[in-house]
């Protein structure tokens, strides 16, 4: 830089229209600061009309003032305050802009999710969109989901399980004794007496048992042979050339012949019945005719009677009232 003159009043080079430019700079500065302030106020929601929502939870750890409450991934409310309610529960005061409040209904659920990684998240869910809208100053319970809190419980359960496993597989435990016994059993199975020796126990009993089993088998064998011959006899009786079955067959053949005869006679009977039917029909006609005939006869008789009566009236002769019919 060049050496400045020692005059104290003109140490800076002259600037044209310095005052105007300075004024412009000051104005720009004020505008920047004021604009930033307004933008930040708008960003923090100072110009939105909001309604209040109270969320209550047992534990509000992870919730910070200024956090968003999201609905379907979109921020729908902002946490204004966190305080303790009279019952000692955490109470979160949320501001919901009125423009977005229609997404929340009376039956909406609010959850606080705390993952193992990342902070807490407040979410809102609306199941039935046609329910009445959420009222101003509503208080709802907050459902808290925290997988991190499950880990101590999981660890405790795992520890118990491991302790149980330890006692189970210890040297003098029941499992070890059982396994030793199984070893003995399989050893006996592989041994000279095999499974029979195992079931019997010691060798003397095993021998006795095998002797008895042998005798039993011999008896059963003889029984089986006898049964065999019995069955053979029965077979001849039933299925032999002179057996029951042959007789039964002959009987059946005879029965067949009888049935055929019976069928034929029935057919004849049928014809007879048809005639009888015709006769019957004729008889019916005759009966019908008979009836008319009777009626006519009755009427003629009556006429004759009348005639006779008239004659009797007109002719005082006493005559036989009997009339000879032709």
């Amino acid at each position: 830089m060049t050496e400045q003159p020692t005059q104290t009043t003109h140490s800076a080079p002259p600037v044209r229209n310095a005052e105007f430019k300075a004024a412009v700079l000051l104005v720009i500065m004020v505008l920047l600061v004021a604009g930033a302030a307004v933008y930040l106020l708008y960003a923090r929601g100072a110009f939105e009309s909001t309604q209040t929502l109270f969320l209550e939870a047992d534990d509000s750890e992870g919730v910070v003032v200024g956090m968003d409450v999201t609905f379907a991934g979109f921020p729908i409310g902002r946490v204004r305050r966190i305080e303790l309610s009279k019952e000692g529960k955490a109470r979160i005061v949320v501001d919901v802009p009125r423009d977005d409040a229609h997404w929340l209904r009376k039956t909406s659920i609010f959850t606080l999710e705390r993952g193992l990684v990342g902070g807490a998240k407040l979410r809102a869910f609306t199941g039935i969109p046609t329910d009445p809208p959420l009222e101003e100053g509503a208080a709802r319970a907050l459902l808290v989901g925290d997988p991190g809190a499950e880990i101590p419980r999981l660890l405790a359960t795992a520890r118990d399980l491991l302790e149980n496993l330890n006692t189970l597989t210890a040297e003098n435990s029941a499992l070890a004794a059982s396994l030793a016994n199984i070893q003995g059993v399989t050893g006996k199975l592989n041994g000279p007496s095999g499974a029979m020796g195992l079931i019997a126990g010691d060798d003397k009993n095993a021998q006795q048992l095998t002797e008895r089993a042998n005798k039993l088998l011999v008896t059963v064998n003889a029984l089986a042979t006898k049964a065999d011959s019995l069955i053979g006899h029965a077979d001849t009786q039933v299925f032999g050339p002179q057996g029951v079955v042959t007789d039964a067959q002959a009987t059946i053949i005879q029965l067949n012949g009888l049935l055929a005869d019976a069928r034929n006679s029935l057919k004849k009977m049928d014809a007879v019945l048809v005639e009888a039917q015709a006769v019957g029909a004729n008889a019916k006609e005759a009966t019908a005719d008979l009836g008319t005939l009777r009626a006519e006869v009755e009427s003629s008789l009556r006429r004759v009677e009348q005639l006779v009566n008239e004659i009797n009236k007109k002719w005082p002769f006493k005559r036989d009232t009997e009339i000879k019919l032709p």
Binding site: M1, Q4, T6, T8, T9, S11, A12, P13, P14, V15, A18, E19, K21, A22, A23, L25, L26, I28, M29, L32, V33, A36, Y39, L40, Y42, A43, R44, G45, V65, G66, M67, D68, P75
Partner: protein
């Protein structure tokens, strides 16, 4: 020199050094209060003093503004890009914007604005001014209004202006780098920025810029106000000004970090 006389010399030197050190800081505090009273005096802004004030203001701010604007835009762009790409590769892209705003706008921009103005304007100007003054001269009221105050005010205003302009520029650049030239991400962006700038953070940022500007404006001029009589002070006070200035900046930065994150 015999051995008996060396021990008191060391103690004396230590004592003198400590007293000098405390005295410089005390004088700095006195000068700051003096400048504050001049700033609040209406006579400072009368028709006679306004041209000088305006000239210093414009001369100290505008060249710096252009340079610093471009430089900070470039560095911001690089840093934002690095943060965004790195966070994307870890699947943490939703934290990228908050990190960019917190690191750049809240911390780096005010610090670099103050350092830029100090190194380019106020420290060299203060050194030249003090070298132009005679030894042991007492400042008159006219000099206060005409020489000291304009430089101090210009330094303070330059820091404010640079910080404000490059903060806004960085916010715009962050939006464009993250989302491109589309207006549809503005709501989400506004929300995140609003969440970062809660009242405490905003207050700390404003206070930090203000205190940085005071340090940058006052410290270089304070030593020329209290001009020491001995030669050693004249030569080294430029360097000691710089050290004092940056120590002050460091203190303010540490205080703001403690306020924000402790």
């Amino acid at each position: 020199m015999n051995a008996q006389a060396s021990t008191p010399t060391i103690l004396q030197r230590l004592h003198h050094g400590a007293v000098d050190w405390l005295q410089t800081w005390w004088r700095l505090a006195q000068f700051a209060v003096l400048m504050l009273s001049v700033a609040l005096t209406p006579a400072t802004y009368n028709r006679a003093n306004r041209p000088v004030l305006a000239r210093h203001l414009v001369a100290d701010t505008v060249p710096n503004l252009a340079w610093f604007g471009v430089l900070s835009a470039l560095v911001s762009l690089v840093l934002i890009r690095i943060v965004v790409v790195t966070s994307l590769s870890y699947g943490l892209s939703r934290f990228a914007l908050e990190m960019v705003v917190r690191v750049l706008v809240l911390e780096l921009i005010p610090l670099t604005a103050a350092a830029f103005v100090a190194l380019r304007t106020t420290l060299p100007a203060g050194l030249e001014f003090s070298q132009g003054r005679g030894a042991g001269t007492v400042a008159t009221v006219q000099e206060l209004h005409g020489e000291f105050y304009p430089r101090v005010a210009a330094g303070v205003f330059a820091v404010w202006m640079l910080a404000a302009v490059s903060c806004v520029l960085t916010l715009i650049l962050a939006y464009l780098t993250l989302y491109g030239f589309t207006p549809w991400a503005l709501t989400g962006y506004t929300r995140v920025v609003g969440q970062v700038f809660n009242p405490a953070v905003t207050l700390i940022l404003v206070l930090k810029v203000v205190f940085f500007s005071f340090a940058v404006g006052l410290i270089p001029m304070a030593s020329s106000f209290y001009f020491g009589a001995n030669y050693r002070v004249k030569v080294t006070h430029g360097l000691s000004d710089m050290v004092r200035l940056f120590a002050m900046i460091l203190l303010i930065e540490v205080a703001s970090l403690m306020g924000n994150y402790y």
